[in-house]
């Protein structure tokens, strides 16, 4: 524990600071959006978006390395891919006469396949593991900018449109009859989900990010029965999971992403087992 705090202030360990700050900042967006994802029951959909992000990361890395497009930051690729996936899945669910879960599954795997193919044609070696499972060593100063910007955007939008999101999640048809475009707000919510997912892809990777989006909200939801307290609880829990995960992974010299996810999972299962009401 003491070593961890020493490491935090160590100038040579700047990445640890950046990663922890990025994680804590992301908790805010994760708590808010995760709550919507849990109550609207679109966890699987959010999982689809998260996995397809790899396609965007792959494309961005390829453009950077093979064609010298320096502006093409992997986070930019991730953001674009997440938004495209969210809109595609949303539109398919709303308009196409398709089974939604099949469409999600398709986008999920196509996104990952695209990403891996881009990695393979990129000159030099790209380690897909760090994108799949996260790597705090990759978190740099520039990531903090992305996280802060997206975080602010998500939080402001979620607060401004709180009533609309609540109404659309609770009873889509009624909201529509009150002159609120349920479809628009549903897509809007998916886009916010997409942006939020991108925030933590660096730290926990595209595969495990869904755990941090939904587990804090799911745990929080067991203890409160209104939306705002559920969000506040989820933000707090997400922050705690993050810090505990960082400390444990540092102390035991283990990869941080999986440790954070395990901490969240153990708490979730523990609460589910104890509080069966």
């Amino acid at each position: 524990m003491v070593e961890f705090w020493e490491a935090l202030v160590d100038p040579d360990m700047a990445f640890l600071r950046y990663a922890l700050v990025a994680g804590l900042l992301s908790s805010v967006a994760f708590g808010i959006v995760g709550t919507y994802v849990v109550v609207r029951r679109i966890t699987y959909l959010a999982g689809g978006i998260a996995h397809s992000v790899l396609g965007g990361i792959g494309a961005a890395v390829y453009l950077q390395e093979a064609h010298g497009q320096w502006w093409c930051h992997p986070m930019l690729g991730a953001t674009v891919a997440a938004l495209l996936a969210a809109i595609a899945i949303g539109l398919i669910g709303l308009y196409a006469k398709q089974r939604e879960d099949s469409a999600i599954g398709a986008l999920w795997s196509v996104g990952m396949a695209t990403g891996l193919l881009f990695f393979s044609i990129t000159p030099g070696y790209v380690d897909p593991m760090s994108y799949l499972f996260g790597n705090i060593l990759l978190v740099g100063r520039s990531d903090l900018g992305w996280v802060l910007g997206l975080d602010l955007l998500v939080v402001v939008l979620a607060i401004v449109f709180y009533n609309r999101f609540l109404a659309v999640c609770f009873d889509e048809e009624f909201a529509r009859l009150r002159g609120v475009s349920s479809r628009f707000y549903y897509l809007f919510l998916l886009c916010l989900t997409a942006l939020t997912i991108v925030l933590l892809v660096r730290i926990v990777g595209v595969i495990m990010v869904i755990a941090l989006l939904t587990l804090p909200a799911a745990v929080s939801g067991r203890f409160v029965d209104r939306l705002v307290p559920m969000m506040v609880g989820a933000i707090g829990l997400s922050g705690v999971f993050m810090v505990v995960g960082f400390v444990l992974s540092y102390g035991w010299d283990l990869p941080t992403g999986p440790v954070i996810v395990l901490v969240a999972g153990v708490v979730y299962l523990g609460v589910a087992a104890i509080k069966r009401g």
């Binding site: 109550v39 029951r41 609540l166 009873d171 009624f174 009150r178 609120v180 939306l227």
Partner: protein
């Protein structure tokens, strides 16, 4: 022109409406009107087209042929004047909302950001009207079936509607709650334009002036005429029904 004026005076007017889902015809040649201030019940067997009719009136579906008018215009333009209580709500039984949160949704068209004090006042008045004002802070998920229906009626009232449209207000409630709801609905029907969808004709027969019987086609009867006649007559086509309200007449549906 004069024809339009007759139409625009009606709260609801359907003229020769046809609707089908693909090859399956659901409604055929449906015409009826509901005048302002009138209390009307829509009855019919499951699968007879009640819900489709309701969705046409609300502009959630569009007729294949014919014309639906709500306050003299296309429903999508005027449906904000309707207070609607759906039969089914929410995806999640544990959805974390309070009773007041739910009722405030009736004010959704008024508020882009936060609900105003005025919206809150209207919501509380609506809760008072259904006798649930003491429940405003309770979690919606912990209410009984009857309490839930009252809150959803309050949400519809919070729209301050010119027309109250209730879909199966007594679905999923026990008999005690049903008799309490009956009292409430009788009170609400006074001086209001009220349309109530129900499978239980006996429940509404003393509070509505007109019964719209839907089973593929529609037949409209004054309530006095309905009482004492067989359901089969009302629907104008052969029909096997389970009747909760009266004993079966000899030879009718005895094999069901």
């Amino acid at each position: 022109m004069s024809k339009d004026q007759t139409n625009s005076s009606a709260a609801i007017s359907l003229r020769r409406v046809y609707f089908d889902y693909g090859a399956i015809s659901v409604l055929e040649d449906v015409s009826f009107e509901v005048a302002p201030g009138e209390a009307v019940s829509i009855v019919g067997p499951n699968g007879g087209g009640k819900t489709t009719l309701l969705r046409l009136i609300l502009g959630l579906l569009h007729p294949d042929r014919g014309e639906v008018r709500l306050f003299g215009r296309g429903p999508s333009k005027t449906r904000l004047r309707v207070g609607y209580m759906p039969q089914h709500v929410y995806h999640d039984f544990q959805f974390p909302v309070s009773v007041l949160d739910v009722v405030l949704m009736g004010r959704l068209d008024q508020a882009v950001g936060r609900y105003s004090k005025g919206d809150r006042r209207v919501a509380l008045e609506s809760l008072d009207e259904v006798g649930m004002v003491g429940f405003s802070r309770r979690p919606f998920s912990r209410l009984s079936g009857g309490e839930r229906q009252r809150v959803l009626i309050a949400r519809a009232l919070a729209c301050r509607p010119d027309l109250l449209l209730l879909d199966e207000p007594t679905a999923n409630v026990d008999s005690l709650a049903e008799s309490q709801l009956h009292e409430l609905l009788a009170k609400l029907s006074e001086g209001r334009t009220l349309v109530m969808v129900t499978h239980d004709l006996a429940f509404v027969s003393d509070m509505v002036s007109k019964v719209v019987c839907v089973n593929h086609r529609v037949a409209v009867h004054p309530t006095e005429e309905v009482n004492g006649r067989s359901i089969q007559d009302l629907y104008q086509r052969p029909l096997r029904v389970v009747r909760h309200d009266e004993s079966l007449e000899p030879g009718e549906g005895a094999d069901g």
